[in-house]
């Protein structure tokens, strides 16, 4: 106990010495390295991006981060007022994460106000709140607020949905440049809502973000099949694309929902051992792209239009290739686009010794019908032999908080 007592005394003497900030973070780490030096500097970096307040939440139309996490919860609030309280608390915590600042320090005799995982200086963490169809059942009197298209994710092509990994009343999506920041964010959000949010499932993983200003139509990101993923994705910096394909506008849906968007999460296990035993030519024919360059088969550039008009019978790119089914590039289907921000995950291995790896497919779209139309075209594709969708759900990303009087969920719950 002597060393403990000595340390307590040391902490108190620091306090007495006026180094309040330093003492308050003393519990955050034991290193004698850079953290200690940083303690003398300000407690947080300046916020990045556009800031928390705005018509939309910040975590959607922003560039992908290297590390992501999705966590679904059951809401246990007893009534609408408690649900509102939970969302207000959640909203405050989200704001701190997005702005990359810590909550105010507490007396060191109290449990610390944050995890301490990030050390003396916080970093921004994108965090978004979305709600599932089940929140609009009879518990909170929200039936009349139901987003027009929001349903519990139905059985889609090839699914083996596991209840333990599917759906939820609330979905939190977190993203940051560091894995520790994502886990810190989850813990901060959960401690703000212990009584009202009960964890249902959580999955985390990584992707390879593209540098700002990278060429449209090219990506560095690859899924665990080894193929580029996102070459033909929407561009978050393109406001017109975001308005056309992502954000709910006036007149689209429920009045409260303007500035929101439909979010789809599909947890897809990839049968990687079998894939790794498949000939390269077969893999490329299933996807429709060159595995290394990402170029549509028979073409040179990743960003090239696949020119299906020149290949009506699928000699170059098979008619049932993944990219051709997903986006046939005709007048009708070009209106069915979505912003994809998926990430790769791995969660151990199964009883047969096979790796449990896959893709947490995440997409944001103005109309859920567009996602469903794409899914319908993909049903029965050859890639299904290597995929096993087992969870996820359909959610609706709440509109942003406009100003400091506003909070995420206010427009949904206010009369």
């Amino acid at each position: 106990m002597d060393t403990t007592r000595a340390l307590i005394l040391r902490r108190h003497s620091l306090l007495l010495g006026g180094a309040v900030a330093a003492a308050a973070v003393a519990g955050a780490g034991c290193s004698r390295g850079p953290d200690d030096e940083q303690r003398a500097s300000s407690s947080s970096p300046p916020p990045t991006g556009r800031g928390f307040h705005g018509a939309t939440q910040t975590g959607v139309a922003t560039p992908a981060h290297a590390h992501s996490l999705a966590a679904a919860f059951h809401v246990l609030a007893r009534d609408r007022a408690e649900l509102a309280e939970a969302l207000r608390d959640l909203s405050s915590s989200v704001q701190l994460l997005v702005e990359g600042v810590y909550p105010p320090d507490r007396d060191p005799a109290m449990p610390p106000a944050h995890t301490g995982v990030l050390g003396a200086v916080s970093v921004p963490v994108e965090a978004t709140i979305a709600v599932g169809a089940s929140l609009f059942d009879d518990r909170y009197g929200l039936a009349d607020r139901h987003p027009r298209e929001l349903v519990t994710m139905p059985f889609l092509a090839n699914d083996r949905l596991d209840d333990a990994w599917s759906h939820g009343d609330v979905l939190l999506t977190l993203a940051a440049d560091r894995p520790d920041a994502v886990l810190h964010g989850l813990r901060q959000l959960m401690r703000a809502t212990r009584r009202t949010l009960s964890l249902h499932w959580v999955v985390d993983g990584y992707s390879r973000p593209d540098a700002p200003g990278s060429v449209a139509g090219r990506t560095q990101n690859r899924n665990l099949l080894g193929f580029k993923d996102g070459s033909a994705n929407l561009h978050v910096a393109n406001d017109a694309e975001m308005e056309t394909f992502v954000w709910i506008a006036d007149g689209d849906d429920q009045p409260w929902a303007v500035g929101g968007t439909y979010q789809v999460v599909r947890l897809i296990r990839l049968l990687v051992e079998r894939w790794d035993r498949t000939a390269l030519t077969e893999q490329e024919s299933i996807i429709g792209r060159d595995k290394v360059s990402g170029a549509p088969l028979g073409l040179d550039a990743e960003e090239a239009d696949p020119e299906y008009g020149d290949d009506p019978t699928g000699k170059r790119i098979p008619l049932d290739a993944h990219i051709r089914l997903a986006r046939p590039r005709d007048a009708v289907t070009e209106r069915q686009r979505m912003l994809r921000k998926g990430f790769n995950f791995q969660k151990g291995f199964d009883g047969a010794g096979l790796l449990d790896q896959g893709l947490a497919f995440v997409s944001y779209q103005r109309q859920l019908a567009d996602f469903l139309a794409v899914q319908q075209r993909l049903a029965g594709e050859r890639l299904e032999e290597y995929t096993l969708p087992f969870g996820g759900g359909f959610f609706f990303v709440l509109p942003g908080a406009q100003d400091s009087d506003d909070w995420l969920g206010r427009s949904l719950l206010d009369a």
Partner: protein, 303 residues
């Protein structure tokens, strides 16, 4: 379960983790990890590993500690009496009477578990679960849960007799040792949080009374014991943070109301009757109360 409790210990002693030689950590963390030592058994108190050196001159707190000491002694007396009913039934070979007396005998242990756990060797001897031992036949595994296993799983009341005798002897030792044990104010203040943590981190899974499914008796006792500590400390907390008093009272009411549907006469329904949703609801209320109670020692200047 043990791993999870150990994590709690490490957080609880985190100031020591920054000490230069780390000796305190090694000692505290390893004492419970040796199979059979029992001191870290899933149901053991975390108090034995915590820094309880915080002291106070505050007359309101000191008077609460005095009253609590009386409460603990009363509980231990009742514990010994109720356990004798249980062990007598075992010795009489009456398995039905023994089963009926099992949960009531544990109740007054669970109300004061963090304090009783300060007498570490007794905690390990009377309340350890099989997880801390090689297997169900490990002779070092003694106490309530060994007897529970023999009664419910093996239906062998005769085999339980030596363990019943041992339980009586261990609780007599506990009573004697507690009579002379100094009760640090910090232990009292931490005790309420510890009792709730106990339920919310471990017992919520139903692993405590896994053969008899009488977990709700233990829950109710833990909450009742935490209630008592809180009631005694409330005047002191009120002087410093009136909002916290309201928040904690609200938390207790939610937990108690949450348990109410499972009451069954003078006792409680089998925990196995609760659905996953029921358990998630209880877990959330408990976790919320644990968050509130975690600030009490700091508020009282005892951490």
């Amino acid at each position: 379960m043990f791993a999870r409790i150990a994590t709690v210990f490490v957080f609880a002693i985190s100031p020591a983790a920054c000490s230069d030689d780390g000796a305190d950590v090694g000692e505290s963390a390893s004492s419970g990890s040796e199979p059979g030592s029992g001191s870290g058994s899933g149901s053991a108190s975390g108090l034995a590993s915590q820094d309880l050196s915080g002291s106070t001159e505050d007359a309101v707190i000191l008077s609460a500690v005095d009253e609590y000491r009386t409460y603990v002694h009363d509980e231990v007396s009742t514990l010994v009496d109720k356990t004798t009913v249980f062990t007598d039934a075992v010795r009489a070979g009456d398995i039905d009477a023994a089963k009926a007396a099992f949960a009531p005998s544990r109740f007054h242990w669970e109300t004061i578990e963090p304090i009783a756990g300060l007498v570490e060797q007794i905690d390990g001897a009377v309340d350890a679960r099989v997880d801390d031992f090689a297997n169900e036949t490990d002779p070092a595994w003694t106490g309530w849960h060994r007897i529970e296993y023999l009664l419910w799983e093996q239906g062998d009341v005769a085999a339980a007799v030596p363990f019943a005798d041992q339980l009586d002897a261990d609780l007599a030792t506990l009573r004697d040792q507690l009579a002379g044990l100094e009760l640090p104010p910090a232990a009292v203040a931490l005790g309420a949080a510890e009792l709730v943590e106990e339920v919310s981190e471990g017992k919520i899974t139903g692993e405590e009374d896994r053969y008899s499914h009488t977990d709700l008796w233990d829950f109710a006792a833990n909450i009742q014991g935490a209630r008592k500590v809180n009631e005694l400390l409330t005047p002191a907390v009120q002087q410093r943070d009136a909002d916290l008093v309201v928040e904690i009272e609200d938390g207790f009411l939610r937990v108690e109301n949450g348990l109410e549907p499972y009451r069954d006469g003078a006792g409680w329904k089998p925990y196995s009757e609760l659905t996953d949703e029921d358990r998630a609801q209880l877990a959330a209320e408990l976790a919320d109360l644990a968050e509130s109670l975690s600030t009490v020692p700091g508020t009282l200047g005892l951490s």
